[in-house]
């Protein structure tokens, strides 16, 4: 074991060469995989896991889980939070192996073990981590020898994903995650701890590539959620929903325990920690007691936004508002539409009538009403679920919609409320979960993810492969497209970051072009079959901002440029930072560091202010100048204008009448709006299923919910029970339709009920 850790320690900081996969160095290997090629020039390993590219083993229809976990892993803030949650500083992570026995790596490489880890074998189920046995059963040294591709039959189609996956498994290293470290984190075993285990293991491993076998994770998932127990095809969005809620819950539960523990004497918690036999937890209570509590809402901060539903009673014209939190948005699809338009449709007005009337407090009764949902608080990570699986009443089952829905690389939201903060927030697409298959009950999920500095990668279970940026656009859907985007992850970004990245991408493309120039033969048919003539893929190596506060600053960054101040139009949206989201790294850095940071930031701000002032002055000067110039030219022109004085008068008249037109414009605006509404592809009947419409706010509770925790838990339990045996199409009490019809108080309870599972699509439990 010492040797293992010695090796580990030795490789991590300084030697870039050894940090490459051993397979790379093997001279017998004829062809490195595209991923290996991509990583050939990689520098030293980073501590934050941004340069790790692990596939996930598929235990038979667990691709829903693999694809989602990958998407979460490559969300920089999410990964950071998972790693840091029961607070720990990064240096500690690195030193940990040297310090003492806390091995969490199980680098099991033997092919035998691989083949037999046939989904959660009982052995895997029962094995609870015992730190002492966790040393690698076999050294990771020569994976190349194990999986020499020369040994493969050439008949095997090397381009087939099956082959590539097999090779990935064989190449290893395989991290068999059949242990758990929850105690080391001071938490009880949960989906969160096992997710954290996976992340930690991937980051700590010295290889950049490999395969994770998430046995334990699946075990917990299946133990706690009956619907995932069957080996059937599952819904990836459903799983994302569950996972986020679960993580949120675990984190909050932990912090509540912390509070009570901290309430007790320090010594007691110390001894507690010691009994856990972990040096690391020992330091947890004293350091984290404050920050970790502040920080329990990080899932909320990242994924949660607020929707405001405005309901206007048509009888009394009274408008009532209700805020609801959401973790992701499920949008209905139309043939030949865009994500932008789907979101706009989501916020379109909806009539509540007939069976679906609204209980108006003002008139006191069920009334017809108009309802619309707008986004009040924009999430930092916007998870968009494209509702490709639609229940068709005549067929009595779910069907997959192959509608072509285009999604841009960058996005802003149109459907915000007027008082929303930073309504022009810029989002960038960073991950796409793709469903491949003809229907909802079978098929396959993969994800395509933009990594921090390695461009876009395709994660197909065990296989990880770099892809061109344009590849992301292959999944719009359409007539002959089996593979369509199903969940889109957009994360907030800034205009500057966007431009920087585009610059880098362009550079990579340019380099590629010049390379092509050097081989005129291939230039004749460039891009025809890229893989054949070398390396076709253009990878933007975005200059990684190494600074620690990269993320913090993002929180304060304006996504829309500040509006130039001028007397005619005082600024409205200059402050774009979200106060709630601020203390990101608080537990990452020592207070001293923090203070320094703050100081730096202050200085920066002051500087910026000054610059702004100067710019303002300059603008003013320019304005003055311009006006002078303007006047002068105006005078010059006066002669010319004299000729057309008559028409000038007309012009004035005209302008006046135009103002009137302008006024009436407001009224006439409605008309095209109605036209817009015409549905081109009436796939859904408004009655039955549109009720699923807004049920997408998949969150269980609001940020401060943990105070109601106990009640909620019991609710959750009952809910899970009755969700299980349902048949498709039967609705749980999770519709937002019924709540509307009920008086206010019950409504609240109901909605909580919904949140408690976030499972509007009970139809998916199969």
């Amino acid at each position: 074991m010492t040797s293992f850790f010695g090796r580990f320690k030795g490789t991590s900081p300084a030697s870039p060469a050894s940090s490459n996969t051993p397979a790379k160095k093997d001279p017998h290997l004829p062809q490195p995989t595209p991923l290996e090629k991509l990583l050939a020039d990689a520098g030293p390993l980073r501590g934050d896991g941004s340069d790790k590219f692990f596939g996930f083993e598929n235990f038979g229809s667990t691709c829903y889980c693999n694809s989602i976990i990958q998407c979460l892993y490559y969300s920089v803030p999410f990964r950071e939070q998972v790693i840091n949650f029961p607070s720990r500083s990064p240096p500690e992570v690195l030193e940990r192996p040297a310090q003492g026995p806390l091995p969490r790596l199980n680098t099991d490489l033997s092919p035998l073990a691989n083949s037999q880890n046939a989904a959660l074998s009982p052995k895997g189920r029962n094995s609870i981590s015992s730190p002492s046995t966790a040393s690698p059963r076999k050294p990771v040294t020569t994976p190349g020898a194990v999986n020499n591709p020369q040994g493969m039959k050439p008949e095997d189609n090397k381009d087939s994903p099956e082959y590539k996956k097999k090779m990935a498994m064989a190449a290893g290293p395989v991290l068999t995650m059949d242990y758990e470290n929850s105690k080391a984190y001071g938490m009880s075993e949960s989906l969160f701890t096992s997710l954290k285990d996976i992340f930690e293991a991937v980051i700590a491993h010295r290889s950049r590539m490999g395969v994770v076998s998430p046995n334990k994770f699946l075990e917990i998932l299946r133990r706690e959620n009956e619907m995932f127990r069957t080996p059937m095809h599952q819904d990836a969005h459903e799983f994302l929903n569950l996972l986020l809620n679960e993580v949120m819950e675990n984190v909050e539960q932990f912090s509540r325990q912390r509070i009570t523990e901290v309430g007790d004497s320090d010594s007691k918690s110390d001894s507690n920690a010691l009994s856990v036999a972990s040096t690391q937890t020992a330091s947890v209570p004293d350091r984290t007691s404050v920050p970790s509590l502040n920080n329990t809402g990080w899932v909320h901060e990242l994924f949660e936004g607020t929707l405001t539903s405005e309901t206007r009673c048509l009888t009394c014209e009274n408008t009532s508002q209700r805020d609801e939190a959401f973790l992701d948005l499920s949008v209905d699809l139309d043939q030949h539409s865009s994500v932008t338009s789907c979101l706009r449709k989501f916020s379109e007005e909806e009539m509540l009538c007939e069976r679906n009337k609204f209980h108006c407090d003002n008139c006191g009764g069920l009334q017809e009403a108009e309802k619309r949902m707008k986004i009040k608080r924009l999430p930092r990570i916007l998870a968009l679920h494209l509702k490709r699986f639609k229940y068709t009443e005549d067929l009595q089952r779910l069907q997959k919609l192959f509608h072509r829905v285009v999604y841009p690389y960058y996005l802003r939201l149109f459907n915000t409320t007027d008082d929303a903060e930073d309504p022009d927030r810029l989002y960038e697409l960073y991950a796409v979960v793709v469903h491949i298959g003809g229907g909802p009950y079978h098929g396959h999920y993969v994800s395509i993810i933009k990594t921090q500095d390695r461009g876009w990668l395709l994660f197909d279970d065990e296989m990880v492969e770099p892809v061109d940026k344009a590849y992301v656009r292959n999944f719009f859907g359409g007539e002959n497209a089996l593979a369509c985007a199903y969940v889109l992850f957009y994360q907030e970004t800034t205009l500057e970051a966007m431009q920087k990245e585009q610059e880098a991408e362009g550079l990579a493309a340019a380099k590629h072009a010049t390379e092509l120039h050097q081989e005129p033969l291939s230039a004749a048919i460039p891009k025809q079959n890229g893989v054949a003539n070398g390396h076709p893929l253009q990878h933007a190596t975005t200059p990684v901002v190494e600074s620690e506060d990269q993320f913090v600053s993002l929180g304060h960054a304006a996504t829309a440029p500040p509006i130039p101040h001028d007397p005619h139009n005082p600024p409205e949206n200059i402050v774009t930072s979200i106060p709630i989201l601020s203390p990101k790294k608080s537990n990452l850095q020592s207070k001293k560091e923090k203070a320094e940071k703050a100081k730096e930031e202050k200085e920066k701000k002051a500087q910026e202010k000054e610059l702004e002032k100067q710019a303002k002055q300059k603008r003013k000067e320019m304005e003055l100048k311009r006006r002078e110039n303007y006047k002068k030219q105006e005078e010059d022109l006066r002669a010319a204008l004299a000729a057309s004085k008559l028409s000038a008068k007309n012009e004035a008249d005209l302008r006046r009448s135009h103002t009137q037109v302008d006024g009436s414009e407001n009224l006439s605006e409605k008309e095209p709006h109605v036209q817009e509404k015409e549905k081109e592809n009436g796939f859904t009947s408004k009655g039955g299923l549109s009720r699923f419409r807004h049920s997408s706010m998949s969150i269980r509770h609001k940020p401060k919910f943990w105070s109601h925790r106990d009640k909620h838990e019991s609710e959750a339990k009952t809910d899970t029970e009755h969700v299980g045996p349902q048949t498709p199409g039967v609705e749980t009490g999770s519709q937002d339709v019924t709540p509307n019809a009920t008086p206010d108080k019950p409504e609240k309870e109901k909605s909580k009920n919904r949140f408690s599972l976030g499972r509007k699509k009970s139809t998916f439990h199969l």
Partner: protein
């Protein structure tokens, strides 16, 4: 323990309609005449009725390309770029362009005669100043045909020699060298001329439309005025390359001559003369630039020069008659991939070869680089001075191509920009993009005027309807991936301000002049623009070139006057003709929509649009 199901596989052919190896049969175009209310566009001026739907047959894949059965939907091979059907339309002997009747030529002339010559130098300046004073109706639109704009490369004697030689004998145009029918080039697969091509050429109505349309790897020459318009005049099948863009030279067109150019997915460019079936291949094998050509256009008023936008962000001017030469950037400073100052480079146009270069024996004539990201489209201003360029990174540039300078750099609300066009008077530029918006920009105010909201997907083509534009009112058409055609009426006075901003605006009317007052930044650049014609080489302040994104709360929003599904497939091209609107889609459908019949719409022939009653006094002035 349970038995594991087999690992997931791609359902093999289980899905109906999956692409498979079909029979390799060349099929014919079909013409249909769908009728009914769903094939009518109802606008204020009347009803546009679908005349016919011409479906261009998609050619089968070239035999050399192995048919792919059961393709892997996750295949990571990079497929070459392709484009939906676009048209290049040309009338051999056009009548007087009708939209020019709308402009009062006499007043324009008289006004201009009083303008000091220094201002007259640039027609925009006169316009803007007039409009500032609130009386641009007097000379709002300058007919640019009568005005002599300096020709591109005029200052370079090396270029003008070539031009002069051609001008001597305008009737006998030079033809390209090789015959495309007899060609044994591997680039061209087959050429299929119509059996009675010469007869059809003779029968062609000189006022009728010729169109060139690409579909997949084919390019078809069509006579849209012929009774048998579904029969192509000539069809060219290329081996692998797809023609992504093409353009017809309006200067050199004649009864016996049409100069057309096409840009290909392989980077090659072909100059083609359909009457004599001759062609020349330029940028062969990507000698000058190896990336696909996304847009191509003849330089206005030029017989020989055309501009091609390559996907790596280069704009290259070629001469149709010059030989290729391996291109090495001349200005070393511009080629360096390491920019001395990132911002500086962004705010400038990298001139890798200037039109003023001494080396003009071979192509390229000039070579500019906007950025490294793909250029999606560009358009020349009617005054032949500016070119507007939109890119995949969402940037929108206005370049003074005569002086090879970047004037403005705007950014889309989000996502890439796909299409761009100029208003007939050159005052406004309209773009469309992946933010589902049609955006209207004012050149002289250098600002965003309005965002037009109404498309349900990306906007793929925009065009002004010159027959429905006058000096205050503009008709814009746009088509998008949502298969819909939208029409917008935009007039200077009717802009609807967003709620937040309009509160403050209620005192006065909202015209472009008052809009302008809000924006000190924009005004600054107007000043610079005015003085610009004198100092061509002065370095411009970055601040005035790069414009920030306008927040939504401050931008006027324009609703469409008409929105209608115009096809079953995403649309990708739109054109306005005197008697019709033409749309084309990604699948090869070309639809012609007849304009409202005279008398049906009350003011069909009137220049004013119905949306603004106020325009009547203006036009009678």
């Amino acid at each position: 323990m349970f038995v594991l199901p087999p690992p997931p596989r791609y359902p093999a052919g289980g899905y109906p309609g999956a692409p498979g190896g079909g029979p390799l049969i060349e099929t014919n175009n079909t013409l249909t005449h769908p009728t009914g209310p769903e094939h009518q566009l109802v606008v204020g001026e009347g009803t546009y009725v679908l005349r016919d739907d011409l479906h261009l047959a998609t050619p089968p894949p070239h035999p050399s390309e192995a048919p792919v059965h059961n393709p892997n939907p996750l295949a990571t091979t990079v497929s070459p770029p392709t484009a939906g059907t676009k048209l290049s339309v040309v009338v051999i002997a056009p009548r007087q362009q009708s939209y020019q009747r709308l402009y009062r030529l006499d007043t324009t002339n008289s006004t201009r005669s009083q303008v000091p010559p220094s201002i007259q130098e640039s027609p925009h300046e006169t316009n803007s100043q007039a409009s500032d004073a609130g009386s641009h109706s007097a000379n709002g639109v300058t007919p640019f045909e009568g005005l002599h704009a300096p020709a591109f490369g005029e200052g370079n004697p090396l270029l003008s020699i070539v031009n002069g030689k051609d001008a001597k004998d305008p009737l006998k145009r030079r033809k390209p060298k090789s015959n495309i029918v007899k060609s044994n080039s591997s680039f061209v697969s087959r050429v299929i001329p119509h059996e009675a091509l010469s007869k059809r050429l003779q029968e062609h109505n000189p006022n009728g439309l010729y169109a060139f349309a690409n579909v997949n790897r084919a390019l078809q020459w069509l006579d849209l005025s012929s009774p048998t318009k579904e029969e192509h005049m000539t069809k060219i099948l290329f081996t692998k390359a797809h023609a992504l863009c093409h353009d017809v030279n309006l200067v050199t067109r004649g009864p016996n001559h049409i100069d057309m150019i096409m840009g290909f997915s392989t980077g090659d460019i072909i100059w083609y003369e359909p009457m004599s079936q001759k062609y020349v291949r330029i940028n062969k094998n990507g000698v000058i630039n190896g990336t696909a050509v996304s847009d191509i256009r003849w330089l206005p008023n030029s017989e020989n020069l055309f501009l091609a936008a390559h996907m790596d962000g280069s704009l290259v001017v070629y001469d149709k008659e010059k030989e290729d030469a391996l291109f090495v950037a001349e200005d070393q400073a511009a080629t360096g991939e390491v920019a001395p100052n990132e911002k500086e480079r962004k705010a400038a146009l990298a001139v890798k070869k200037s039109v003023n270069s001494k080396n003009q024996k071979t192509n390229p004539v000039s070579y500019w680089k906007t950025s490294n990201s793909k250029i999606n489209a560009f358009a020349f201003s009617p005054d032949c001075r500016h070119v507007a360029v939109v890119s995949e990174d969402g940037s929108f540039r206005i370049i003074d191509f005569l002086s090879e300078q970047l004037l403005h750099l705007y950014t889309s609300y989000y996502g890439g920009m796909i299409c761009v066009c100029w208003s007939p008077d050159g005052r406004y530029i309209v773009t469309g993009g992946q933010d589902d918006l049609v955006s209207i920009w004012a050149l002289e105010d250098s600002m965003l005027v309005a965002r037009c909201q109404g498309h349900n997907s990306w906007v793929t083509a925009v065009a002004f309807d010159p027959w429905r534009c006058d000096e205050r009112n503009y008709r814009i058409g746009s088509v998008g991936e949502d298969c819909r055609l939208l029409l917008w009426d935009f007039s200077v006075g009717m802009l609807h301000r967003p709620r937040a901003a309009s509160v403050r605006q209620q005192r006065g009317s909202i015209t472009s002049a008052t809009l302008k007052m809000q924006k000190s930044r924009a005004d600054g650049s107007t000043t610079r623009l005015r003085s610009n014609s004198n100092l061509t080489t002065a370095s411009l302040d970055e601040d005035e070139i790069v414009h920030p994104v306008e927040p939504r709360a401050r931008t006027a929003i324009l609703p469409p006057v008409m929105a209608k599904k115009a096809d079953d497939h995403p649309l990708c091209w739109l054109g306005f003709e005197e008697d019709c609107i033409i749309t084309s889609c990604s699948n090869g459908h070309i639809r012609t929509w007849d304009r409202p019949k005279e008398g049906a719409g009350s003011d069909d022939d009137e220049p004013s649009t119905t949306s603004t009653s106020a325009s009547a006094p203006a036009s009678s002035a």
